[in-house]
Symmetry: C2
Subunit: 107 residues, 2 copies
């Protein structure tokens, strides 16, 4: 028992393993190019060519970022014949993006 025991009991402190996973998630959002890709995919699914065109990134840079985003389960893919379409993986991604944007615009 020490003088912080009461506080420690009250606080639901994040353990180190979950802190690491959560840091990786936020770090997936910490790159301007990735964020521009996420903004492009907010309401539409697109193939690499279209994403590259509207973000101004090269196709190879776009593919590279999409691979990272997919590994972290921020985007998912759908195949249609030989085409691959990308979209945001779930509602969390969109809400995290919107909340972050809201914070920098109005926070």
């Amino acid at each position: 028992m020490n003088k912080y025991s009461d506080i420690i009991r009250e606080v639901d402190i994040l353990d180190e393993q979950h802190a690491q996973l959560l840091a990786e998630l936020f770090s997936a959002f910490s790159d301007p190019s990735r964020l521009r890709i996420i903004s492009a995919l907010k309401d539409l699914e697109m193939n690499v060519g279209t994403i590259s065109e509207i973000t101004g990134l090269s196709e190879s840079a776009t593919s590279h970022q999409l691979r990272g985003l997919r590994q972290l389960r921020l985007v998912r893919t759908r195949k249609e014949g030989r085409q691959v379409f990308y979209s945001l993986d779930d509602e969390h991604v969109k809400v995290l993006y919107d909340l972050g944007l809201n914070h920098i615009l109005h926070g």
Copy 2:
């Protein structure tokens, strides 16, 4: 006009300046120690000593992280005599943290 014109008109793509600011915000959440501090401050305000004690970080590491969090407006301070208490700056911070945690636990 090119073949993407219709899509480009529909998509509210993040400009580079805002993408940079948003990347900085998410990168403030991309450190396990910072996330553990945020988790400690979720429901209570605390001074540096208490945060240090319950996170297991040294006081100087805690102060360093708190300075960074404050610069990015994720935490704020309140003075009471010679004591300084830290708390989360606004509801956005808590909601971003909770949503991220929800994504890694259930996403």
